[in-house]
């Protein structure tokens, strides 16, 4: 798979700025508030230099790719979300892990594409690549980043659901949450631990970040409500199976595996003449000028 929508060398340079209606703006804002609270009150204990490294690497590379490949000068809001997600979710004593994971994430966005879209969630790709390729050096931060206070977890859950409603991904997230609960019950019924162990991850920072930042990525989630529900349930089922097999970081692997087969789905859909709606394309070109 390669880029097939690259701009011609003599195409005009466009400046691409997201509007306030862009769902990513809300996600980016929420993530920023979350990080600030995390660093000040909620025990994220993340080294600020690691956050900076992840953000700078992701945003700079995103801007570079966009300019070189598409002749775009863009405000790297996607890369900002990706970099911040990586910075909060990954844990490592080595700052280079954050840079490398961010580079992998953004590179996957431009180099692994089906049609004119990437099919891996960039932050998910970066995190999974780091977990697999930098085993022992990179891990996902422990789930109780907010000091184990369940009230904080429920506030985050409630605010997250409200945010998903605004960005029109509530169906996806509810399907994922519902599927997760059912699969947890199945695991406990099959003899794997108790209900607190199975449902406890719901209250963790790792889970919330995955659910409200990674999962609703417009580019890698289906365009229709039914599709999104099926997508959320599929991730929950695969995650449940992996958890039953005691695979760590299962939800990241589940999303990664399903994203990997997205091109096949799209191919089948195209072969059947079904066109995927594309309502989430929200870039707005506010200024463009012909190349001199």
């Amino acid at each position: 798979m390669a880029i097939n929508a690259a701009a011609a060398p003599n195409a005009p340079v466009r400046v691409v700025i997201p509007t306030f209606k862009d769902p990513r703006v809300m996600i980016a804002t929420a993530l920023t508030v979350w990080t600030v609270l995390g660093q000040t009150f909620l025990y994220f204990d993340r080294d600020l230099s690691q956050i900076a490294v992840a953000l700078v690497a992701a945003c700079a590379l995103d801007m570079l790719f966009a300019f070189v490949l598409f002749r775009q000068i863009l405000v790297p809001i996607s890369a900002y979300i990706t970099g911040l997600s990586i910075a909060i979710l990954l844990e490592s004593y080595d700052w280079r892990v954050f840079a490398v994971a961010s580079v992998w994430a953004i590179t996957s966005k431009y180099l692994l594409r089906s049609g004119d879209r990437h099919f891996f969630n960039p932050s998910n790709f970066g995190i999974v690549a780091a977990l697999v390729l930098m085993r022992g050096v990179a891990t996902v931060a422990p789930g109780s980043q907010w000091g184990g206070d369940y009230r904080v977890a429920f506030v985050i859950l409630a605010l997250g659901l409200l945010m998903m409603r605004r960005v029109k991904r509530l169906d996806l997230v509810l399907a994922w949450l519902g599927g997760y609960v059912v699969m947890s019950l199945v695991r406990v019924a099959l003899g794997q631990g108790g209900l607190i162990f199975a449902l406890g991850p719901l209250t963790g920072a790792e889970f919330a970040l995955f659910t409200f930042s990674m999962l609703p990525d417009p580019k890698t989630s289906p365009p229709t409500p039914r599709g999104r529900i099926a997508w959320g349930l599929a991730i929950a089922v695969l995650d449940g199976v992996l958890r039953y097999l005691e695979v760590r970081y299962s939800m990241f692997y589940a999303l990664f595996a399903l994203c990997a087969v997205l091109p096949v789905f799209r191919m089948v859909a195209a072969a059947r003449g079904v066109s995927e709606a594309d309502p989430w394309r929200t870039f707005v070109a506010v200024w463009s000028r012909p190349r001199a």
Partner: protein, 356 residues
């Protein structure tokens, strides 16, 4: 025609929804019955705070504070002897004797101090605070003597006669005179002190076997006695994973987690333990599950330990464990357990965790 099709469609949707809900309800019932909240073993209704050894923890805490204050000669020493502070089975005379002993040891009069502590224990043999103070004092003295010997680079660092066979010798005598669970517990923990001071396998193995035998003896009489369950679980957990212990009976692979899970289950039923005790139990149970290869369950318990927010050390220990990759868990856990065992500033066998 269309209306009929729509009616059939909505009826089918309703049937499917009802079927799905019923299936989820059945799964939930099975899950609750099988795993419960924490997948802990059942606890008999006959278990009480007294049989679990968890009664009067507040009184024990006050008593320990008074002993510390009296031993260090602070103004709080004046309060020693007030009747409300004395725990069950203890006497004010014992507390005064113990505090005199502690003060003497601090002043360098080791033999007189230990005699006084032993006198205190004879007066109140079932007093956990006094027994613990005696063991911890002897442990510190022996440690200092060994450090001193190693600093002088002698080939064989002999311990001074006053502490050479202590606290085991005295506690064995005391147990013959007063065969109660508390004295047996102190003796079992004295063997743990021994293996912490001398981690060589030829001492560690028989010391652990002695300790487990004593604790098992207590548990045969009182199966819900939490300090003994915790002590035996720790013994099992700290046995080197890759070594066969020829002196011991074959240990069940889940022996550690069974004892520790029973502790947690009883603790949940009785309540009253400090957050630090709860967090330590959860962390230790997680370690036991990790040792047995149940890594997901282990991480859940580590998470619970961290969530107790008991203290920074416990939280850091849980966070360290989260960074372990699956493959490195056995080795890292072994290292962690060894480090914990050799931390003589906060000895594993210190019963103060019960009341602190």
């Amino acid at each position: 025609m269309n209306a009929a099709r729509e009616t059939r469609g909505s009826r089918a949707g309703f049937v499917w929804s009802a079927f799905a809900l019923a299936a989820v309800a059945v799964i939930a019932i099975v899950a609750v019955r099988r795993g419960g909240l924490l997948d802990l073993p059942p606890v008999s209704d006959r278990v009480t705070a007294e049989t679990a050894g968890l009664s009067n923890l507040d009184q024990l805490a006050r008593r320990a504070a008074q002993l510390d204050a009296a031993g260090s000669g602070t103004s709080d020493a004046a309060r020693v002897g007030t009747s409300d502070a004395a725990g069950p089975g203890t006497s004010d005379a014992a507390l005064i004797a113990a505090s005199t002993g502690l003060k003497a040891v601090r002043d360098g009069e080791v033999e007189r101090g230990l005699d006084s502590l032993r006198h205190a224990l004879r007066l109140a043999p079932s007093d956990l605070v006094l027994g613990n103070a005696y063991r911890m004092t002897v442990l510190r003295l022996r440690r200092a003597a060994l450090n001193d010997a190693s600093a002088r680079a002698t080939l064989a660092g002999r311990l001074p006669p006053a502490i050479e066979r202590e606290p085991i010798a005295f506690l064995e005598t005391l147990r013959r005179e007063h065969p109660g669970r508390e004295v047996s517990l102190q003796l079992a923990l004295a063997w743990v002190d021994e293996l912490m001071l001398f981690p060589a396998l030829e001492i560690k193995a028989p010391a652990s076997v002695e300790s487990v035998a004593l604790l098992s003896g207590i548990l045969e009489q009182e199966p819900a006695y939490v300090p003994a369950l915790f002590g035996r679980g720790l013994n099992y957990l700290h046995r080197p994973a890759r070594l066969v212990w020829p002196e011991s009976k074959k240990m069940a692979p889940d022996a550690a987690s069974r004892d520790l899970a029973q502790c947690v289950a009883i603790g949940r039923k009785i309540g009253g333990g400090s957050p630090r005790l709860v967090g330590t139990l959860a962390l230790t149970l997680g370690d036991a599950y990790a040792r047995e290869g149940h890594l997901e369950t282990a991480r859940s318990w580590w998470q619970i330990a961290q969530n107790t927010g008991a203290d920074a050390g416990l939280s850091a220990a849980a966070r360290r464990r989260f960074t372990w990759d699956d493959r490195e868990v056995p080795d890292r856990l072994e290292q962690e357990l060894e480090t914990r065992m050799s931390d003589l500033d906060h000895p594993l066998s210190d019963l103060a965790i019960l009341w602190q």
